[in-house]
Symmetry: C2
């Protein structure tokens, strides 16, 4: 009977706690997606972009001006957000307008700001 049945460099202190936690943990795939989602909004530039377009749609140039950044940089970030299904866009003539794909983002911002205020 081994003291350490798990693949880790230390012994188990509270076996029940560990097993309980293991049971309630979602699958790895869920954690990958969840972490990926937070990682996407966990960047100052993307935070600002999402905030800017959360009120009404904006084209790339306007967003670049709001953030005082290059079109290229903004476009790269918008591409990342689009491929991840966080924003969507539609074209009108030469311009491409971006909006949030759904409104979970606004909710997440709300709680994030609550957390920050709680820390002050």
């Amino acid at each position: 009977m081994s003291k350490n049945e798990f693949i880790c460099d230390c012994n188990i202190i509270h076996k029940k706690s560990v097993e309980k936690a293991l049971n309630m943990m979602p699958k790895d795939e869920i954690f990958y997606k969840l972490a990926d989602f937070y990682k996407l909004i966990g960047d100052t530039t993307r935070c600002k972009i999402l905030f800017a377009i959360s009120n009404h749609e904006m084209c790339v140039c306007d967003i670049a001006n709001v953030l005082s950044m290059s079109k290229s940089s903004v476009s790269h970030q918008l591409g990342t957000l689009r491929r991840s299904g966080i924003v969507k866009c539609h074209k009108e003539g030469k311009e491409v307008y971006y909006t949030l794909d759904d409104d979970h983002i606004s909710k997440v911002f709300k709680i994030g700001l609550e957390h920050i205020n709680h820390k002050m």
Copy 2:
């Protein structure tokens, strides 16, 4: 009268939109903190750690076993989370027990999962 009054490599297309967005944007400091908060939970390992301890407190060894990771790696991440005020800890003998600092994390997880489900 210059066509481009802002420090950006492109023109403003919709002046009103840009000004409106600029007015409602929080200060940079807020965005730094907000992005930092999401960045912290935007990592698979830290996501798992937070999830594991969200139910009841756990010591470092137990967390390491739940995640099948080394104590050192877990401890580094816990240190980061602690210094950022996301988790807190108390010592009992040789062991250090970690819990969430407040329950905004659980709420954020809830919305994150909603977003993921919305995408399936």
